[in-house]
Symmetry: C2
Subunit: 127 residues, 2 copies
DNA sequence: CCGCATCCTATTGGATACTG
DNA sequence: CAGTATCCAATAGGATGCGG
C-alpha cells in the first residue's frame, strides 16, 4: 500500500516541485515578491530601504534569480546616475495568492507555534 | 508614499512570517508534511523509504522540529524493537491547503520557469 | 528499529571595498 | 545609483559509527 507511493515522492532525478520551491525558499525571495506585489514598480534602492536589513549583495542575487526565473522584470533607464526599476511579471503575479495564503497561515498560527516550541524545549530540559 | 510601508516589512526584531516560514522553507519539511498529509500515520522507516534519498539525521531533525512546532505528533510504542509513529496534528493539517496551492503552482509553472532560466543564461553568455 | 553524536563539507549570506 | 568582487563566518546537511 505504500509501494505505489514511492515513485511519487522519491527524487529520482530532480524533483520539479523542489526545483522551484528551493528558489523562493531562500531568505529574501518571498519578501521581495510580496513587496513588489503590493507596491508595484520599485527601484533598487527603494526595495533596499523598505527591507532595511538586507545586504546589497543579497538583494542583487535575489533580484537576478527572480529575473532569471521570469518572476520579475528589470527595466534600465540609460541615464546617469542609472535608474533601474523592478516589477513583477505576470508569472510573478500569479504566485502572489499562494504566498499570501502561506503568510496568512504563518501570521495566524505563529503564536501557537511559538508556544509549542517553548513547551517542547521546556519538556526537554526536565528530562 | 513609501514611508508608511517601511515598518510593515522591516524586520525590526524578528519577523513573525519569516520566523515560521524559515522552518518549512528548509530542504525536507514540506515534503514530509505532504507525505504525512496524504498517507496518514507512518513509521520512521516508512517515511525514510518513501523519500528515499534523505539522510537519517535530516529525517530526525526534520521530524523533531515539526514536532516542536506542533505540526506533527509522535507516538512511541514501548516494545522491542521500538515502533514510533508520526501523524500530522490539527495544526499540521491546517497547513496542507497552503502547501498544496504552492506545489500546484510549482508543478504548473516549472516548465515555464526552466525555459526562462535557460533563455536568461543563454543571453548572458552572448554578452 | 529508531535514533543520537561526531565529524566533515558545501552552501548561504553578511561586510567591505571598489566601479561605470 | 546600481551594482560587482572578494573575503569571511555561520549554517545546513551528508556520512559514519554507536547505543537502547
Amino acid at each position: 500500500m505504500i509501494k505505489e507511493n514511492l515513485e511519487k515522492y522519491q527524487i529520482i532525478e530532480d524533483c520539479p516541485v523542489r526545483n522551484v520551491l528551493d528558489r523562493i525558499g531562500d531568505k529574501w525571495s518571498i519578501l521581495v515578491i510580496s513587496i513588489l506585489g503590493e507596491l508595484g514598480t520599485l527601484r533598487f534602492n527603494e526595495i533596499n530601504s523598505i527591507i532595511g536589513n538586507i545586504s546589497q549583495k543579497m538583494l542583487t542575487v535575489t533580484l537576478k534569480t527572480l529575473e532569471a526565473d521570469g518572476l520579475v522584470s528589470r527595466k534600465i533607464y540609460p541615464q546617469v546616475p542609472p535608474r533601474v526599476e523592478y516589477t513583477l511579471t505576470e508569472l510573478g503575479n500569479s504566485l502572489l495568492p499562494s504566498i499570501a495564503t502561506l503568510t496568512q497561515w504563518a501570521l495566524k498560527n505563529m503564536s501557537t507555534i511559538k508556544a509549542s516550541r517553548e513547551r517542547y524545549f521546556k519538556s526537554l530540559s526536565v528530562k
